[in-house]
Amino acid sequence: MAKVVPASSDEQLVEAVQSAGTRGVLARGLGRSYGDAAQNAGGVVLDLLGRDRVLAVDEATGVIEVEAGISLDRLMRDFVPQGWFVPVTPGTRAVTVGGAIGSDIHGKNHHRAGTWTQHVRSLDLLTGTGEIRTLTPDDELFWACAGGMGLTGVILRARVALTPIESAFCTVDTQRCANLDGLLEAMADDDDHEFSVAWVDCLAKGEALGRSVLTRGRFARRDELPEKKQADPLAFNPRTPFTAPRGIPTGLLNKYSVAAFNEAWFRKAPARRDEEIQSITTFFHPLDAVADWNRIYGSGGLLQYQVVVPEGAEDVIRSCIDAFSHAGVASFLAVLKRFGPANRGHLSFPMGGWTLALDVPASVAGLADLLDRLDEQVLAVGGRGYLAKDSRMTPELVRAMYPALPRWQELRDEVDPNHVFQSDLARRLKL
């Protein structure tokens, strides 16, 4: 259990850091990281959501200065109508700018645009000694903050370059792939597409192993929109998410219901359909329409598993999908995506190659051993797991997966010699 303290002024945050007890403090945004990254048992959690102002906007370049507690949802609501989109969006709008840097998040455009932090021009960091420093990508410390999981300090403000758009719609190409080979082949020309991601049916076996639906797209030009949308091409006003009905029996999802769902999804997808106009929400954030969607996984909750392996190690991806399909792991949200090159972030997750992400009900028998085995395969080819979604790796594993960890620790020790910044994740992984 942690004490949650709403953050207000810089001075109050400095004071909170300087008076931190032995269990330390930690910044928290919207708490959308899956595991224990945004938790600090016995210590203090600084809730940054109250710091959500837009401080400056350069209408010519799209560079904005914001407080780190602002959500991507707010940014989209404010700036899409003005013709600007966030440079990178994850699968939900419910994340903050601080969390986006803290986890150095990626989206469907990673292969071309890189991570969120790669669009940050500078940031203000409150360090463990109570100092406020402005960092730019020329500072190594800046990169220690990218994916630094809040452990280098509190990100107070950031200056971020938005991306110009002509409409609030995407033009999307959809393609059904019969198996993993088909998918990898289809993804070979990903670089021609701004956004690309594949949904994989992890329950399909044999010939159909890795059958998938590949969707790729880009923002539509105004003249590509249907006539009635052209009048107000930048309209963006998603309904507030509704809540999954309370009465959903827990554990509704099992191997059979998911298999049926996956089958239907796969069949529903067109063998091939080009240039369909989709809204931002439909294309980027389908899950936001179902608040509490994770509840359908039952009381055991769900666990995210996301790994990346370098180009050339496609066999490990195959072996992961094969293992899940054999174990009958009921997951209807497996996603495969090609990443572009890694950035300088010591603990930043993406690297050139393939990333596979899926949700699994934590109650699956034998899950722990299965994932441990897959981790070893991933490690053996130089791949790694995503800290923002981790809740089960070990200190040894993370050390091996992130060779720059010792250097990150040196930098962290310089700005936070007393380890004021702590989290459950940091304790579990001995970061």
């Binding site: 269990r23 595991g35 048992a41 722990a368 809740s391 089960r392 459950d424 304790r427 579990r428």
Partner: protein, 254 residues
């Protein structure tokens, strides 16, 4: 920190040579490679054996001396230090226990007090230290190996039962005191368990092996229970026994 699959990372086991504790530790070590175990127990062959078994399961074991029958205050610094080294303690298992010679224990004051020391004084002493540590870190579980014998003392083993009851009650109170801090306290009441402690005794109905109790402990932890019986049916048996009128109860051959 416990991970999302409920696997423990670091445990402190007090009375770590008990058969049930050993079964539980082996279970946890099998679940998670590199489990960190701090064993507080009397030095000697039994502790070596328990440690070796865990090391063979790839656990990292640290042994700390604890003598439940000796002056506890003199050992306090060492016990506290055992909790402080290393990372957060996910679980503390207090498995101290002595059965003794039941007939001697109500006729020889020293023998009676020996049971008080091992079954009540030391568990309560360590429980207070553990509680403070877990409270400070804001998470973790504290598990006491109690016994059904304490629920209603009976002629055949009341010296044991009464001392177990003292610790049992204390920990159930701790459960309430620590709940606001996110600490889970659980009292485990096994029935007859086939262990070196009960060797030579006639097996009672519903007798179990230590591994069965270990499994029940994990289930209780996962469910957030404050008291569990092992096997679960023992709860009904004890409820029945407790509600028997004294004159009948006294005549039972138990």
């Amino acid at each position: 920190m416990r991970d999302a699959l409920g696997r423990l990372q670091r445990v402190v086991v007090v009375g770590g040579t008990s058969a049930i504790a050993r079964a539980a530790m082996a279970r946890w070590a099998r679940e998670r490679r590199g489990l960190e175990v701090t064993l507080l127990a009397r030095p000697g062959a039994r502790r070596e054996e328990a440690a070796a078994e865990l090391t063979a399961l790839a656990a990292k074991v640290e042994c700390v001396d604890l003598d439940a029958e000796a002056d506890l205050e003199a050992q306090r610094a060492r016990i506290e230090a055992a909790f402080d080294g290393g990372g957060d303690v996910d679980l503390v298992l207090v498995a101290l226990g002595a059965l003794g010679d039941q007939e001697q224990a109500w006729q020889d004051p020293a023998a009676a007090l020996r049971l008080v020391d091992v079954n009540a004084r030391a568990p309560i002493f360590v429980g207070v230290i553990a509680a403070e540590r877990l409270r400070r870190q804001g998470h973790g579980a504290l598990v006491l190996l109690s016994s059904v014998a304490g629920e209603r003392v009976r002629r055949s083993n009341f010296a044991y039962g009464a001392t177990k009851a003292a610790a049992d009650d204390f920990y159930r109170g701790l459960a309430q005191a620590l709940a606001p801090d996110g600490v889970h306290v659980m009292v485990v009441r096994p029935g007859f368990v086939r262990t070196p402690m009960t060797e030579g005794l006639d097996e009672a109905p519903l007798a179990q092996d230590p591994a069965d109790v270990a499994e029940d402990i994990d289930a209780g932890l996962a469910a957030g229970a404050s008291v569990i019986w092992s096997p679960a049916t023992m709860r009904v048996v004890m409820a029945g026994l407790k509600s028997l009128p004294a004159p009948i109860f006294r005549r039972l051959p138990i």
